[in-house]
């Protein structure tokens, strides 16, 4: 019988994933992972651990714990800071999957004797001949294939997403039926290690902020920014500019950052033309099957919550490609990942470097 180690976060998704494994007759074990050292000497992940323990106790499976905070710091967090320092907008949750959950955690689980690992991701693995394909989760709203585009065949062959074809509401209902304490626990939002903390405050502890001017494209100063790293393309909230600075009473948006001059460029209105670009170039390209797809019906998301948009891959090099969308895309942000799909299949992705029209 296959031995499966399921990563338990204390949340409801991984809890139900564990329950399904047990129901399906797998020999299962829980593994609780800590990726971040807390500031205080006391373990604040204790609450999550207790929830995970309650799940394992009621399923009758053992729960173990492991600390990957050093790996997380070296492989994910350092890169996260480097990207912010360069004025980009990284997505650490993607690296967390490729470097931690499906590398450090996977290796650890295999060392513990596991054949596979399971997680509570909303995504599916489909077999197509010799190849494994990553498909979107059935719940369109919860689909997490975006975060998993960096996985390779070897990692997929070891992975198991028991709730990939479940709806979130059904997952919660199942957790409730099983008597899990965490059935009502709210979904985690934002970046895991920052949690509910104030993002600016958090980043300030690691990166010195350099305040500077906010100007319009015409060069008119309209305010002061607190440090370019705090802003991302298309951002509307928190610019601190009243509508009165402009000619129209339209909200202000971040159009661009000029790192070398420490200047934030803004414009008014969601329909501002400079908020939209049709082309982008990206690097660190990864294809899940290992090959460049030859699809006529390619679409891509430029951030997790973006809509899929039809596009084509214009030029291809080994590690970087240019992408042209059918329609201009709103607020393409360097540092974010572009993830490619063919219908429901996630093909792979890359990290956005620049955009243009």
């Amino acid at each position: 019988m296959e031995h499966v180690i399921v990563g338990l976060s204390g949340g409801v998704d991984s809890a139900v994933a564990a329950a399904l494994l047990v129901e399906q007759g797998y020999s299962a074990e829980g593994l609780f992972m800590k990726n971040w050292e807390e500031d205080s000497q006391y373990c604040t992940s204790e609450k999550d651990y207790k929830d995970a323990l309650q799940v394992c106790d009621s399923l009758g499976i053992p729960l173990r714990s492991v600390n990957f905070s050093r790996e997380y710091w070296d492989k994910v967090f350092k890169h996260f800071l480097d990207e912010y320092r360069a004025g980009r907008t990284p997505n650490p949750d993607i690296l967390c999957n490729t470097e931690i959950k499906f590398k450090a955690f996977l290796d650890y689980a295999i060392e513990l004797g596991a054949d596979k690992i399971a997680t509570g991701h909303y995504a599916r693995i489909l077999k197509s001949g010799e190849l494994l394909k990553l498909a979107r989760g059935t719940d369109q709203n919860k689909d997490q294939s975006y975060f998993l585009y960096g996985l390779n065949q070897e990692q997929l062959s070891r992975a198991f997403f028991p709730i990939g074809d479940w709806e979130k509401t059904t997952v919660r209902q199942k957790a409730r039926e099983l008597g899990f304490n965490n059935y009502y626990k709210k979904d985690s939002t934002g970046i895991c290690f920052i949690g509910e903390r104030h993002f600016k405050e958090f980043l300030q502890r690691y990166l010195p902020a350099q305040p500077g001017d906010i100007i319009t494209q015409e060069g008119k100063p309209v305010g002061q920014h607190e440090g370019l790293m705090y802003y991302t393309m298309g951002q509307r909230q928190g610019l601190g500019i009243g509508g009165g600075h402009g000619t129209l009473e339209k909200p202000w948006y971040v159009l661009d950052k000029k790192m070398e001059k420490n200047i934030l460029i803004v414009g008014q209105g969601h329909d501002h033309p400079d908020l939209y670009h049709r082309s982008l170039s990206c690097s660190h390209v990864h294809w899940i099957t290992g090959k460049i797809p030859k699809s006529e019906t390619l679409s891509a998301k430029i951030r997790y919550r973006a809509q899929d948009a039809p596009c084509r891959i214009e030029t291809t090099a080994e590690q970087s490609v240019s992408v042209v969308f059918e329609k201009p895309q709103f607020a393409i942000a360097p540092g974010q990942s572009i993830v490619f799909y063919e219908h429901d299949i996630c093909l792979g992705g890359a990290v956005i470097d620049s955009r243009w029209n």
Binding site: F32, C43, S45, Y49, L63, R64, V66, E111
Partner: protein
């Protein structure tokens, strides 16, 4: 299921369990009451006090009952708040129930020195002597360490402290039933014990107090325990610690010999198939039956998990509230490198372990590290 983690806690001795059950059921009087039920309860408490006192060579009225080692340690350290001399000396390898209390007392103006230890885990005596100040009001040094078992030179510490009239406390939580404890021979002023480390119940401990005038109460209320620990006594737990202390010290040399035999069997057996094993701590001045051993090239959390799966309970380093194994601060203080530190298991034998179980443990370890 073989259990080799007696330094963490021990199973309750069957006689102790029976006594506690009967006491809990039948002796419901309040020890402060003067009627028959109250007197019965009182006499059980006083019997337990005598039993504990006898186990450590103390007088019964020098013992107060607490909820365990942590409370006893807290009570002694916090009493320094009411003393004139506000400097405390401890070692770097004390239990968190000492070290974290010291940290928390800084804000109230209490300073402390934590004396470093040598690679065997023995306190550096010169550093200790040099750190004594005119304002030193307490010395608190564990009798033996919980992770490596190294016995500290408490008698010598007392010899140095006595002429300077500095009281000495020892956290002896790991020691009862393993090495002889005589408060007069040691010369110490305060001593902490916890019942669950010697086959008694959890939530039950004692504080030995040579002279009560320097110690203040943590819990104030009714006048129980000479006014040093208010609250209606938990009679069953107190009866339990009394009997457990008596049993643990009844045939001490025999018990210690059994533990040493198991320890020797394990060490010899392990060296046969894993000569790279590194044993940490003092080879001679140590608690019998406690082994701290590093497996270079292996992660201790994996070893613990695999042994757990094989039905064998051992421990590794120190685990936080979410079960995560962290490098041991004690091994760090002894100068053990991080890599070896996180390859370390603690195996602590107890009175119910047998040679056959030890053989099983060895073969389980063998199959894990050769697979």
């Amino acid at each position: 299921m073989p259990y080799f983690d007696h330094s963490a806690t021990t199973p309750v001795h069957p006689d102790v369990l029976e006594l506690m059950a009967i006491t809990q059921r039948d002796v419901y009087g309040n020890p402060s009451s003067v009627h028959a039920q109250g007197r019965k309860a009182k006499s059980i408490i006083e019997k337990a006090r005598s039993q504990v006192a006898a186990a450590i060579g103390a007088k019964p009225d020098q013992i107060i009952f607490t909820s365990g080692g942590s409370e006893s340690n807290n009570q002694v350290l916090r009493s320094v708040l009411n003393m004139n001399k506000k400097h405390i000396i401890a070692t770097a390898i004390e239990h968190p129930a000492i070290l974290n209390v010291l940290k928390s007392l800084e804000q109230f103006g209490l300073s402390h020195n934590c004396i470093s230890v040598d690679p065997n885990g023995t306190m550096n005596f010169h550093e200790f002597e040099n750190s004594i100040r005119d304002t030193t009001g307490l010395i608190s040094v564990m009798l033996a360490n919980n992770e490596v078992g190294t016995i500290q030179p408490v008698q010598e510490i007392v010899k140095t402290a006595k002429p300077k009239s500095i009281p000495v406390h020892t956290d002896a939580v790991q020691c009862l039933g393993k090495i002889p404890i005589d408060v007069d021979e040691l010369g110490i002023d305060y001593l902490s014990l916890s019942a669950h480390k010697f086959y008694g119940p959890k939530g039950s401990g004692i504080l030995y107090i040579r002279d009560k005038k320097f110690i203040s109460a943590l819990i104030i209320g009714g006048g129980q325990e000479s006014g040093l620990r208010a609250g209606t006594e938990n009679i069953a737990l107190i009866a339990g610690i009394g009997l457990a202390a008596e049993i643990a010290t009844a045939d001490l040399s025999g018990r210690a010999r059994n533990l040493t035999d198991l320890e020797t069997q394990f060490k010899t057996g392990l060296k046969e198939f894993f000569p790279n094993a590194v044993f940490n701590g003092n080879n001679v001045h140590k608690l019998p039956g406690l082994i701290n051993v590093s497996f270079p090239g292996f992660r201790s959390d994996i070893l613990v998990a695999k042994l757990d799966r094989a039905g064998m309970a051992v421990s590794s380093g120190s685990a936080c509230a979410s079960g995560i194994v962290e490098p041991s601060d004690i091994l760090k203080a002894m100068g053990v490198e991080d890599e070896l530190n996180t390859s370390t298991l603690r195996i602590s034998f107890g009175s119910t372990n047998t040679a056959d179980e030890t053989t099983d443990l060895l073969s389980a370890i063998n199959s894990i590290i050769t697979s």
